[in-house]
């Protein structure tokens, strides 16, 4: 299982984050919120200076491209913990991230 993170940040901003935190998984940049809209996750004016951003959400997608698990929060501070996501992945028999 590969984690893939998506936000409205530029590739450069994400690279800074990635370098600082030592992440090795892909971080994708959805500047125009096209994909965020596709997943109906747009938080209009939710960002700084009223920018449109993504609401926090997590999806486990299997090899066929089917969603197997989804977590939508009702509070921007409350998100699925890494432990919770790994547990879900194990339950659904995804391999652990390498």
């Amino acid at each position: 299982m590969t984690p893939v993170a998506i936000s409205v940040d530029t590739p450069e901003e994400s690279r800074d984050l990635s370098t600082k935190a030592g992440y090795t998984f892909p971080i994708l940049s959805d500047r125009n919120t096209d994909v965020i809209r596709k997943y109906d996750l747009l938080h209009k004016g939710g960002g700084m200076q009223g920018r449109d951003i993504s609401r926090p959400a997590e999806f486990l997608v299997d090899r066929s491209g089917t969603v197997r698990w989804r977590n939508l929060t009702e509070d921007i501070r409350v998100r699925a913990t890494p432990e919770k996501m790994l547990e879900q992945a194990r339950t659904l028999r995804f391999q652990a991230p390498n």
Binding site: M1, T2, P3, V4, A5, I6, S7, V8, D9, P11, E12, E13, S14, R15, S18, P26, I27, L28, S29, D34, V35, K38, Y39, D40, L41, L42, H43, K44, G46, G47, M48, S54, R55, P56, A57, E58, F59, L60, V61, D62, R63, S64, G65, T66, V67, R68, W69, R70, L72, T73, E74, D75, I76, R77, V78, T81, A89, F94, Q95, P97
Partner: protein, 148 residues
Amino acid sequence: MMDCRYDRPAMARRFNTPLWSGLVLVFIAIFSYLFLFVRWPMTRDVPWTAFVLFVVALALMVIGFRRTERKVFASIVMTIGIGVMAFFTFGMLVISKLLPASQGSPAAGAKAPDFTLPDTNHHNVTLSQLVAMPGSNGVLLIFYRGYW
């Protein structure tokens, strides 16, 4: 003689330690949440550390208020403290939950909409290719708010 003259007004205007430490504690509660406790889910999801410190801060301010004869001044300080606590609590319990509904996001069993987006090196990444990569066993998509 001299001691008496200078002591009395000094006594009357003695520093109100409980009142001021109560106010300072209000800000410590908020900043400790924003810069420290926000890092762990246990202390982030519900800001109980701040709420516990708020209770102590309020108790200190009440003690300070009862002790002083300058009630008007003390009530102004208390109002500021309570106002700041109310604002923080409102932000945590109300503003942070102001999320638009998401009826259209793919639930379990639905097809994940395919997409292509640039990674940190401006290389395009396509979901359908990523999930089908040799050795892949699926993908965990994490949408997040960004800029940190």
